[in-house]
Amino acid sequence: MFANFDFDVIRRSLAYLFLDGMTFTLMLTGLAGLGGLVFGTLIALMRLSRFRLMGHIAGLYVDLIRSLPLVLVIFWFYFLVPYVGQWLTGASRPIHVGAFASSLVTFVMFEAAYFSEIMRAGIQSISKGQPAAAQALGLTYSQTMRYVVLPQAFRNMLPVLLTQTIVLFQDTSLVYVVSIPDFLGAASKVAQRDGRLVEMYLFAAVVYFAISSFASFGVRRLQSRIAIVR
């Protein structure tokens, strides 16, 4: 079965796969996770705010993004970002946006919708007495959020946020559809150049599996360690 396999193709392309591909994937995962968390928290605060209109707009955005497949969203942003860039900078033609910037914008906007739902659940899990006490102490809204509510919401939701980040790590492989060389894209390039689909795709599968299993094992440990006894 493995007789005519050429495992050397993996060794030969290791540097390319990890230095180019995996670096891209991990950078994208990390930055999109952070950006998604920041924007997601803002969206969650909008949805929970007293201003109904703002809440509705945020809710519409979240519902819209969550009902679309990521592949379609990647296509949308891939074609839309140059036009938006043109509009923002006032250039005469759609600007050129690099592969990394384009996918980063896509994933931040996409993940923000998912992270916002997690943060919303986290904020709602804080008992009413906390913000009430903060207000009684004379803290403003932003102080209440910054020093009282959000730190606790973040801590309660940390395992869920990290699990979502593992999903994000796997989802970044979908930039394949616009031929951006992330880890899978790099593997696929080598696979097609050398006609070694089997070896490269098996190797990619093993690497994704190893990283995701290791990360989800870590999340499970963290979950049992930080659980707050109530």
Partner: protein, 243 residues
């Protein structure tokens, strides 16, 4: 924006010779729905078995269930589809591999099976959570009545567990519909794929993707409304989803 809008593009004939661009998108929509339903049947069947395995007292059974779920959850769906589509035929005896490669509609079957198995791990986790959320007394009472393990699951645990997990299953079904778009990578012309080819043929990027977006929204609305009716009919009074 100096983008040239042309909304009438949908009524112009598409170069693939099957009709207008609108027909092209609608046939993509049909493929999306077909793949999603086939994948969902597989996901429910395998997911139920694995979900039950994970709750059994036997260490071996729950170990197998755990391994199954981890296997399908820790690889991106795209990689899994590539494994089924490109790698599996090469690993099988050559006669079988050749048969698979020559199979008519291979992307369709690969997508249905690949997405079905991918989603089955998630269905299994939902079912495990559903069974786990039942009061311990249910199982104890069934045992006290002299029911075997199989009977306990068949008549006591599963009928309630499935009704409790209806809402999460609805969103898993919607995830299945969305995941069909990943099959664009193994050249299945589903809805996103149809929009993509319309964009490549006509250069009307935003019209094509707007139409696809609206169609996806429509699927979501229909599924959510249908499931809400089913949930209402099946809800157990006194439970979270019941009144």
């Amino acid at each position: 924006m100096n983008y040239h809008w042309n909304w009438r593009i949908f009524w112009e004939p598409a170069p693939d010779g099957t009709g207008t661009y609108l027909d092209m998108l609608l046939s993509g929509l049909l493929v999306t729905i077909e793949v999603a339903i086939c994948a969902w049947i597989i996901a429910l069947a395998f997911g139920s078995v694995v979900g039950v395995l994970r709750t059994l007292p036997s260490k071996t059974a729950s170990g197998i269930g755990f391994a199954y779920v981890e296997f399908f959850r820790n690889m991106p769906l795209l990689v899994q589809l590539f494994l089924w589509f490109f790698v599996l035929p090469e690993l099988l005896p050559s006669a079988w591999g050749l048969w698979m490669k020559q199979l008519h509609n291979a992307p369709f079957y690969t997508a249905a099976i690949g997405i079905g198995l991918f989603m089955s791990a998630r269905v299994a986790e939902q079912l495990r959570a559903g069974i786990g959320s039942l009061p311990r007394g249910q199982k104890l009472a069934a045992t006290a009545l002299g029911l075997t393990t199989a009977q306990t699951y068949r008549y006591v645990l599963l009928p309630i567990a499935f009704r409790i997990i209806m809402p999460p299953l609805t969103s898993e079904f919607l995830n299945t519909v969305k995941n069909t778009s990943v099959a664009i990578t193994i050249s299945l012309i589903e809805l996103t794929g149809a929009a993509r080819s319309m964009q490549e043929f006509s250069f009307q990027v935003f019209e094509a993707f707007t139409a696809a977006t609206l169609l996806y929204l429509m699927i979501n609305v229909v599924v959510v409304i249908a499931m809400r009716l089913i949930e209402r009919g099946l809800a157990i009074p006194g439970y979270i989803s019941g009144k």
